[in-house]
Amino acid sequence: MAQINLLQAVNSALDTAMDTDDRVICLGEDIGKFGGVFRATSDLQDKYGKARCFNTPITEQGIVGFSIGLAAQGSVPVAEIQFADYIFPAFDQIVNEAAKFRYRSGDQFNCGGLTIRAPYGGGISGGLYHSQSPEAYFCHTPGLKVVIPSTAYQAKGLLLAAIRDPDPVIFFEPKAIYRAEVGEVPETDYVLPLGVAEVTSKGSDITLVGWGAQMHQLHRAAKMAAKDGISCEVIDLRTLLPWDVDTVAQSVEKTGRLIISHEAPRTGGFAGEVSATIQECCFLSLEAPILRITGMDTPFPLVFEKEYMPDYLKVYEAIKTSVNF
């Protein structure tokens, strides 16, 4: 198996999807010959032709609206939004159109072939418009699926699953670890299930839940805690909508403690949803309040990015707070 990075895994997934299904079409800003600003679509236009991999004008609402039409017609579009920060012009098309397309027609029409890819998250000195984590907005929309990988292996398997899923999927890619995250990825075709979390580290004292680039902070914090004799169970949600309540609940029933961490601001963040659900179903198992380690309720900063980020030290301190409660 080849060692490749997360970005190459995305490219491999797109290549596999286009190779195995003629209906798969990649579109977005600069994704053609240039291969995208991050090179996620490198070589795809050369390999599959301009009709199936092409540049679009700079119009996110146009890209998503066009892709919904393509999907309704029977194509399988994979639209790239260059940065998740720029997905908002397409918010209406995603929330009012893609998400409700099947439902409002009584299942006469659907745009389930649609996948929207967008690099998200901080850690690249991108300031307020190249760093955001907008997943919670979309998790509040019935009809969408929201998927975020944290490793190269996940990126390929989850993206292929997203492309082939019968419902529209938003696929956020943690751009901070596009190249840093390297792992063994099969060159062959494989999928990982959507809606299923992965226990990435077994433990008994406390459960740490996260997704995307945040998984690295959680694992680093867990290693520090292990030196203090605290055993952390780490769970990568992988899919946020619909999320795997059972895996988290089973873990919390065992550990009695839970920390959820994400880069996005705290208020209205997805950690609130996880926290509320787990206290509903695991109330009698809890030994301490559920804690959230998140970004602050501010725009994403530039010079104080390091201070803002919910890093491993903040998670480590939260672990001690929870265990000593």
Binding site: A51, I63, F66, R102
Partner: protein, 401 residues
């Protein structure tokens, strides 16, 4: 790189009035052919189908407006005055072509073959509504008739139509997409996004802009400053024509030619139909507060159905007697359908959670189970809409498929 128009030493700003877009007119107000106009090829059968469907929609709109006033429908929206703009254009397309409409194009759906029962099922949200009772009245859709289910959101169908047409072109199935919207919708960002993408990506889509003078209460003069919508099509590099929307032959001729252009040149085409919304925006609107009766009267005299009737009578393809009979028959057919379909039960309760996703996920199943338990405690309170056909109440314990 795009081709620009050469250079000049003269400093002069181009004005919008430098671009002249005349309005195609074939039938005059008396239903006579203009001397300088070319009659489009149209056989008697097609002409009479167009006329019957325009008349049907006029009758349907009148009856449903009355039914809404009687409280039998929650909402309605007429296309009175714009029947020719819609029927004339759709008649230029084949049944394979996809229609992606706004919400005032029920006449196109009728032209495709939507029945009185189907109209009533949607308007009444009964168990036979193809949309399963999920959308307000007039939000029609039919997979069988290639008529995309419409949504209330304005202009969203425009970039979607470009994408749909691109997919049709890739499939090589000799079909295109016809996309309807109003002049008000042309102010939305999606209009600009959709036209630009359609032009740049060479999508076989025909945009039909119904310029009807008003967006709810806002007159065109407060909606845009330029010469209507047509210049915008040209600005995006789209072949564009403006037609008298109350002149059935002008609209039909433009529709036939637009389809041919879209398919042959694999690119977008735009038609701007100049007409007038004779009715209110919807049953929630009252035009007397923002426009005067004189203006309405002026346009009522330009009635597109009246004009086509004069032409048909002049050709001896139609008679007053036939006309009277047609209207009488449609009134009866529509009222009979209303009476019959309003007796039907509501859709099944499980439609609350089906089709949100292809398969209801676990969290929706759980929420549905919780709801069923709650409804079972208070069935009279929640399931107040009786199953009128058999006098029973739809059960909360309806299982998922």
């Amino acid at each position: 790189m795009s081709k620009f128009s050469g250079t000049t030493g003269t400093l002069r700003f181009t004005e919008s009035t430098d671009l002249s877009i005349p309005t195609l007119s074939i039938l005059d107000s008396e239903g006579e052919l203009r001397k300088d106009a070319k009659l489009p090829a149209i056989d008697k059968e097609t002409a009479l189908k167009i006329y019957r469907d325009m008349t049907y929609i006029r009758v349907l709109d009148e009856r449903m407006l009355a039914a809404q006033r009687q409280g039998r429908l929650s909402f309605y929206l007429t296309c009175t005055g714009e029947e020719a703009a819609v029927v004339g254009s759709i008649a230029g397309f084949t049944d394979r072509d996809m229609v992606m409409a706004q919400y005032r194009e029920q006449a196109a759906l009728r032209y495709r073959g939507f029945t009185s029962e189907q109209f009533m099922n949607q308007l009444l949200s009964n168990d036979l509504d193809l949309g399963k009772g999920r959308q307000m009245p007039v939000h029609y859709g039919s997979r069988a008739l290639n008529y995309m289910t419409i949504s209330s959101t304005l202009a969203t169908q425009i970039p979607q139509a470009a994408g749909y047409a691109y997919g049709q072109k890739l499939s090589g199935n000799d079909a295109c997409t016809v996309c309807y919207f109003g002049d008000g919708a042309a102010s939305e960002g999606d209009f600009h996004a959709g036209l630009n993408m359609a032009a740049v990506l060479n999508c076989p889509v025909v945009f039909v802009v119904r310029n009807n003078g008003y967006a709810i209460s806002t007159p065109s003069s407060e909606q845009f400053a330029g010469d209507g919508i047509a210049p915008r099509g040209i600005g995006y590099g789209i072949k564009t024509i403006r037609v008298d929307g109350n002149d059935i032959l002008a609209v039909y001729a433009a529709g036939v030619e637009a389809r041919k252009l879209a398919i042959d040149s694999s690119g977008p085409v735009m038609i701007e139909t100049m007409s007038y919304r004779l009715g209110a925006h919807s049953t929630s609107d009252d035009p007397t507060s923002y426009r005067n009766a004189e203006e309405e009267q002026l346009w009522a005299e330009k009635d597109p159905i009246l004009r086509m009737r004069k032409w048909l009578l002049g050709k001896s393809w139609w008679s007053d007697q036939q006309d009277h009979q047609l209207i009488t028959n449609y009134k009866k057919e529509i009222l009979d359908a209303l009476k019959a379909q309003e007796k039907r039960p509501s859709p099944s309760l499980n439609g609350l959670i089906t089709d949100v996703y292809q398969t209801p996920p676990q969290h929706l199943r759980q929420q549905y189970a919780e709801l069923q338990q709650h409804i079972d405690k208070y069935p009279d309170h929640y399931l107040a809409n009786p199953d009128k056909a058999n006098g029973t109440y739809p059960s909360a314990s309806v299982q998922l498929p």
